[in-house]
């Protein structure tokens, strides 16, 4: 193995500093006494207190949470199906079209997606009277549409890396396709489905542009509220909110990584024990 050069190490350090300094600055200044965000005046929890007394913020967070969970569940169902179709169904008429429609939303500028979905909802309301008005329903439908693309990619790449022979064996033993899916395929791709759910949740929780297009009066999500606050200037309670979110994500990701590592060790030990027992 070649040694990493000084240049590469420097760039790694610079890259990670670039990624983390802004986040750390928000964390530090969330504990700042002063209202001036960038001048340190002493340690205080007052912005956290203010944040939790802000009813508008809490309501928006509740709405976002609701939409994000609905969206993640819908996106996982649709994304798993389309991932399965693309990875396992071989050729069929319109396959290119389907794979195009699942990868294009990954890069489509959000203003275009948002505008086109809004115009669709307006046209649908005129034609069939549904969805009447815009709000939670339209936001959720829009979020499912763009986040299912991410779930599809995650599920599809998991499916292409595991061996088809297990499914074929079950099929040979007379299991119907639906049974093969639920008994063999689903448990194997479950980690991908869980990470797809979390990914879809995060995308929805965080989305501003598409939501702004398809939301109606009375449905202000958390990103919409943050954006309107931030536009007026920096406010320290946003720092407190950011710190809480960073804390939750860090604990979740580090925790799940450690847990998965432990499970992998347990699994390897079991494999060895099984081998030893066979000898």
């Amino acid at each position: 193995m070649q040694r990493r050069s000084f240049f590469v190490l420097t760039m790694l350090a610079f890259g990670f500093a670039f990624l983390y300094v802004p986040i750390l600055s928000m964390v530090v200044f969330s504990f700042n006494e002063s209202k001036l965000v960038t001048v340190w005046a002493g340690f205080s929890f007052k912005w956290y207190v203010e944040l939790f007394n802000n009813a508008q913020m809490l309501n928006a967070a509740k709405l976002s949470l609701q939409i994000a969970s609905l969206n993640a569940t819908g996106a996982v169902i649709l994304g798993t199906i389309s991932g399965l179709v693309l990875a396992r169904f071989g050729r069929f008429r319109g396959r290119t079209m389907l794979s195009g429609m699942t990868t294009a939303p990954l890069v489509m500028p959000e203003v275009i997606t948002g505008l086109s979905l809004l115009l669709l909802f307006v046209a649908m309301e005129q034609a069939i009277g549904w969805p009447s008005g815009r709000g939670v329903t339209t936001i959720t439908l829009a979020h499912i549409t763009f986040s299912m693309a991410y779930v599809t990619v995650v599920v599809q790449s998991r499916l292409t890396t595991f061996d088809e022979s297990l499914e074929e064996a079950a099929m040979d033993l007379g299991a119907r396709p639906a049974k093969v899916f639920f008994v063999i395929t689903l448990p194997i791709i479950l980690p991908a489905i869980i990470s797809g759910w979390l990914l879809a949740f995060t995308l929805s929780w965080d989305d501003l542009v598409i939501t702004s297009f398809v939301s109606g009066p009375g449905s202000t999500t958390l990103p919409m509220l943050i954006f309107s606050k931030v536009r007026l200037g920096v406010s320290p309670d946003i720092n407190a909110l950011a710190t809480i979110m960073v804390l939750i994500v860090t604990v979740g990701i580090v925790g799940s990584a450690l847990w998965m590592q432990r499970q992998e060790k347990v699994r390897q030990r079991d494999v060895q024990m099984a081998k030893a027992a066979n000898e």
């Binding site: 193995m1 203003v111 275009i112 994500v249």
Partner: protein, 334 residues
């Protein structure tokens, strides 16, 4: 055998579901319905394909046709604020009014042309910056020991899970006139007056590069990690210096990763709205911002649609390049 908790829960759940499905599929009503449908060409397979297909057709493909339609209609003071493209006049005469004024307006008002050019320029510069920072990072991570690799990749992905909006907001605090960077530089005596960084194109470059960096590192890492290192050993054995080996072997082999990463950054960056709105100045023209203000401030839906169609035409080629490489990556796995 001990299994991860979620797998056993999932296993139980899916087993129950399979039993349920088995019960249903063995009933007589099901067999009869199945025969009836199969005679009409509807199989279970076709049904499964149809679910995501129709969803995407309805919510992804059809909307573009509606955008195209409305980009040809006239603005009207109504809700929705556009005139219908076709109307039934009299008994059986269909009147179709195709209005090209929105598109000719895009060409005559220099604002739009400048906004398109500027967006492409900003996106291109940011993509190059992402590549310059992201390539050495991905390379360094891919050549670390496996334990380090996982930790470092987790650190690259972690910011992606925290709110994008809040991470852009963090830069306001850093770049402001009395922000962190200016305060540090001034206390060190490097500068006497605060630098103007916020509300400039510089801030937009920094914001886009910062937000999209993980999208560059991920495909590059996936590519560089897969690379066959024996090729480099062979080159070294034949007397090739490391720098030359990098330029002749590693770099050409990583081109698919570079293209995938560049498209993942460039295409969304062209239409970026949040970053120029928060970090850019009032005169930093980006086409996403123009579309937003046509829609939300001027309430001119037909012009906004025309701007969107023009942006799509601009991005068709990059999107197709992306799809080509994405499709190839998925088939390479097999």
């Amino acid at each position: 055998m001990a299994q991860p908790g979620y797998v056993s829960v999932g296993g139980w759940l899916s087993f129950t579901l399979a039993r349920l499905i088995e019960g249903v599929t063995q009933s007589q009503a099901y067999t009869r319905a199945q025969r009836w449908l199969r005679n009409r060409g509807v199989t279970g397979r076709a049904f499964v394909i149809a679910i995501p297909y129709f969803w995407l057709l309805l919510f992804f493909a059809v909307p573009f046709i509606i955008v195209l339609k409305i980009s040809f209609s006239e603005t009207m003071l109504a809700m929705p604020p556009y005139a219908p493209l076709w109307e039934w006049v009299g008994e059986q005469a269909l009147e179709i009014k195709v209005n090209l004024a929105n598109f000719t307006f895009l060409f005559t008002d220099s604002l739009y042309g400048r906004a398109y050019l500027n967006s492409v320029g900003v996106a291109a510069v940011s993509t190059i910056l992402c590549l310059l920072i992201g390539y050495p990072m991905a390379y360094g991570i891919a050549r670390s020991s496996p334990a380090w690799r996982n930790v470092l990749m987790m650190l690259v992905i972690l910011p992606f899970w925290t709110s994008f909006l809040l991470r852009v907001y963090a830069w306001i605090g850093l770049l402001k006139g009395n922000g962190v960077i200016n305060n540090i530089l001034m206390s060190l005596g490097v500068i006497n007056e605060p630098l103007v960084m916020l509300q400039t194109d510089f801030a937009v470059y920094v914001g886009i590069t910062y937000s999209y960096l993980p999208f560059m590192v991920l495909p590059l890492y996936a590519n560089l990690e897969k690379m066959d290192l024996t090729l480099l050993e062979a080159a070294a054995d034949l007397g090739c210096r490391p720098t030359k080996a990098f330029l002749r072997i590693t770099l050409p082999l990583s081109i698919p990763g570079i293209v995938a990463g560049a498209m993942l950054v460039f295409i969304p960056a062209v239409g970026e709205f949040v970053i120029p709105a928060l970090l850019g100045g009032p005169d930093s023209l980006m086409i996403g911002k123009v579309l937003w203000s046509e829609f939300f401030n001027n309430r001119d839906w037909p012009i906004a649609s025309a701007v969107a169609i023009a942006m799509l035409i601009l991005l068709v080629i990059p999107i197709m390049v992306f799809q080509y490489f994405q499709g190839r990556q998925m088939s390479v796995h097999r």
